[in-house]
Amino acid sequence: MKRVSIYLMAGKKTPELAAAAVAGGADLLEIGFPFSDPLADGPVIRLAGERALAEGMRTQACLECLAKTRAKVDVPLIPMTYASILEAYGYERFREDAVAAGATSFIVADLPLEAARDLPRVQLVAPTTPDERIRLAAERTDGWLYLVSLTGTTGARDSVSGQLRGLVERSRSVTDVPLLAGFGISTPEQAAAAAELADGIVVGSRAVEVAESEGYAGLERYVRALRAAVDDLAASRAG
């Protein structure tokens, strides 16, 4: 079965939003710990991060949000953040406290393969990543590999990147770990197109927008539509 991962920015509503996303069919959740200067993010997540910081979502508050989310849902929870947050908190202490709060793994958008080897985390690979480096990332990754499906920052695009197919093929040739594709995937059609290539999808910016504008029920509906698009694909294959 194809996996659907949903990104939510940490905030007061996040535990309930997480429950809604899981009710809609999310298999795992990434919880954004906001950073003031998020290099990998486009405008939607950057602005969501600014709002979260303005409402006090500092590291301690994010860890509390994680624990409250863990109390609501059983799926894997993955804090997604930037190295500066871990530098300030301490890598080891961050790992321990986040795991105690219910984290399953981590994603650190600006922490390359070579750095902080003691922190188990989901590694990212991009269309620019050479095969040998993909192999190394797959070796070191925690559970699955995050395919950055385009050269660019997070955020919706008109269609799934043409770069994704090649990245999936190159990844498959060097590893058996599950491949989840993210960046630029926002509609059910795009979810289906990406899931046809990869083992699952990650949706961030659009999920953050829907959560903001349409609330719990809207997010559940949206995730259900993504889920259905991805499952129909599996069903049509089986048929």
Binding site: F35, S36, D37, L39, A40, G42, R46, L47, E50, L53, R58, T59, Q60, Y82, A83, S84, I85, L86, E87, A88, Y89, A109, D110, L111, P112, L113, E114, A115, A116, Q123, L124, V125, A126, P127, T128, T129, P130, R133, A137, V148, T151, G152, T153
Partner: protein, 374 residues
């Protein structure tokens, strides 16, 4: 991570960037290693430095500025485009050409690096996009016009502090998006490896010349070498000439409201681990300085290393101190300095030393409106 890792200065430096950029940084590093050992490159760079930039820049002994000591100014303000930034921009344009990149992105604060980038792009026929905070565009309007005249696109950054920090982030995001065709011409000795080293080596010409010139003029090395530090490229370039001379004090002067080294903490910003203005949670704090070129919460990783090792000292100067010296240099020597090196001069003048060499990193035309409005 240990201190022997390439790309680190002690515990500082490294490559803290999204994965998309790592191969581009590898490519840049390979290109840089090839080119810097290539005699053809050295010859071309030297020729351009001489004929286009106007190097070597003079080392000028001030006449009326200080009474009890000899103060020499390394006149980077006399470089083409009016600041040391052109040294780096020119070298990086040659690297971009070697790497086959036709498009350049750059960030700028005061506009000096943006103008230098636009200038070399015009010279080499490269496309140029400069990201600049809208706040800085308002306070440095003449430089915006200059960049446009030179054929660059100036792209306003309308969020966050609307200054250099956000402009740098947007330039990096552009690079992530257009990495196949684009070279990121970073303006200071900051950013991911190999930029701090590469920019430092391109600016080291300042220190090489200054060392030769002071020996020729005085027959000895200076007691102290003083330079302003924002990102720190003019200081790292000037210090490079004297860092092995243990008798020469190296003094970096930061803006008091942007003292990344004086009051900062270890953190990660714009691709490198360094000393930063950040809060307990690692969120980057706003810097404040009258001088747009020092108005940055980070600093080059090599400076953090030089501070920790004790080889260099870093001290602050306030807006008011810089303004006082700005007027003093104009009235006593007929030289209008940029506000950035005015910070360095403010500390240099009160040093207990006989022979002091100060990096005059740029000229002050761009700051007239700021100064006259005070």
């Amino acid at each position: 991570m240990t201190s022997v890792d390439p790309g680190y200065f002690g515990p500082y430096g490294g490559r803290y960037v999204p994965e998309t950029l790592v191969p581009a940084l590898d490519e840049l590093e390979r290109g840089w290693r090839e080119i810097k050992d290539d005699p053809g490159f050295a010859l071309e760079l030297e020729g351009l430095q001489r004929d286009y930039v106007g190097r070597p820049t003079p080392l000028y002994r001030t006449e009326r500025l200080a009474e009890e000591k000899s103060v020499y100014l390394k006149r980077e303000d006399l470089c083409h485009t009016g600041a040391h930034k052109i040294n780096n921009a020119l070298g990086q344009a040659l690297i971009a050409r070697r790497l086959g990149k036709q498009r350049i992105v750059a960030e700028t604060g005061a506009g000096q690096h943006g103008v230098a980038a636009a200038t070399v792009c015009a010279r080499f026929g490269l496309d140029c996009v400069v990201y600049m905070g809208s706040e800085d565009m308002a306070r440095q309007a003449p430089n915006v016009e200059r960049m446009r005249l030179l054929g660059a696109e100036v792209s306003p950054v309308e969020f966050g502090t609307r200054t250099l920090k956000e402009a740098t982030s947007e330039a990096i995001r552009d690079w992530i998006t257009n990495v196949e065709t684009t070279h990121y011409m970073i303006g200071s000795c900051v950013g991911p490896h190999p930029y701090p080293e590469l920019v430092g080596e391109l600016q080291a010409v300042i220190g090489r010349e200054a060392r030769e010139q002071i020996l020729a003029a005085e027959g000895r090395l200076p007691d102290a070498v003083v330079a302003c530090v924002g990102g720190g490229s003019n200081a790292i370039g000037l210090f490079a000439g004297f860092v092995d001379d243990s008798g020469v004090r190296l003094i970096g002067v930061e803006a008091a409201g942007a003292a990344s080294l004086g009051t900062g903490r270890a953190g990660v910003l714009h691709g490198a681990r360094s000393s930063l203005l950040a809060d307990d949670d690692g969120q980057i704090a706003d810097a404040h300085s009258i001088s747009a070129g020092l108005d940055y919460p980070g600093v080059g990783p090599e400076h953090a290393f030089l501070r920790d090792s004790g080889r260099a000292e870093y001290v602050p100067a306030t807006d008011e101190e810089a303004l006082t010296v700005f007027h003093l240099l104009a009235e006593r020597e007929g030289i209008i300095p940029a506000l950035e090196p005015a910070h360095a001069l403010a500390r240099a003048l009160e040093l207990d030393a006989e022979l002091v060499l100060v990096g005059l990193s740029g000229r002050g035309d761009k700051d007239l409106a700021t100064v006259l409005s005070r």
